[in-house]
């Protein structure tokens, strides 16, 4: 069974540019999450989809971040325009049910210069 897949694995962009991260969850997992780890800090929640609907986006830092989940399948996270403080590792995770284990992708390391 394929795990959670994220693209790209690394991205280096200049301040002010746009970047789109993609996540393909485990097939059949309705719950999809985005998390972020910035340098030296713990992993922090960004948002949660149930199928194509946003269940909780309380962790999104500001309106420069836009997440979508097309047809309840893959998800994208767009940062526009990127700022230096957006640098970090962005993880996607999926789970079959609420309050059960979530499985993580390998992450996308974003560097804004």
């Amino acid at each position: 069974e394929a795990g959670v897949t994220q693209f790209p694995s690394h991205s280096v962009i200049e301040k002010g540019q746009t970047v789109t991260l993609r996540c393909d969850p485990i097939s059949g997992h309705d719950n999809l999450y985005w998390y972020r780890r910035v340098m030296g800090k713990e992993i922090k929640f960004l948002l949660h989809f149930v199928k194509e609907s946003k269940q909780d986006e309380s962790g999104m830092p500001n309106n420069r971040f836009l997440a979508e989940r097309t047809g309840g399948t893959y998800s994208t996270l767009k940062v526009q325009p990127a700022e230096l403080e957006d640098s970090g590792v962005y993880f996607c995770a999926s789970s079959q049910k609420l309050f059960t284990e979530a499985f993580f992708g390998q992450g996308t390391r974003l560097t804004v210069v």
């Binding site: 719950n31 999450y33 998390y35 992993i43 995770a93 609420l98």
Partner: protein, 109 residues
Amino acid sequence: EDQVTQSPEALRLQEGESSSLNCSYTVSGLRGLFWYRQDPGKGPEFLFTLYSAGEEKEKERLKATLTKKESFLHITAPKPEDSATYLCAVPGIYNKLIFGAGTRLAVHP
């Protein structure tokens, strides 16, 4: 406020030297506690889920236990391949995971 604290921050062991990692949590209504292992450059890898005080789970050299206030990850006779960062997390409202900062474990031959 929901919170997870892990200790120690870093732990260095000799191969075969057993030890325990601690995860203390404060959450309104525990709906599970998760342990993950993370290797450099990779995403967290799921290890265990514990749901109620007194519950224990085992996998190879690892055993996780849970009380009403904390969880322990016991490592018995560790090997160098057990070196990793071990993360503890609890679900907050709507299942968003609240992570601790992790314990960096280094096991030397």
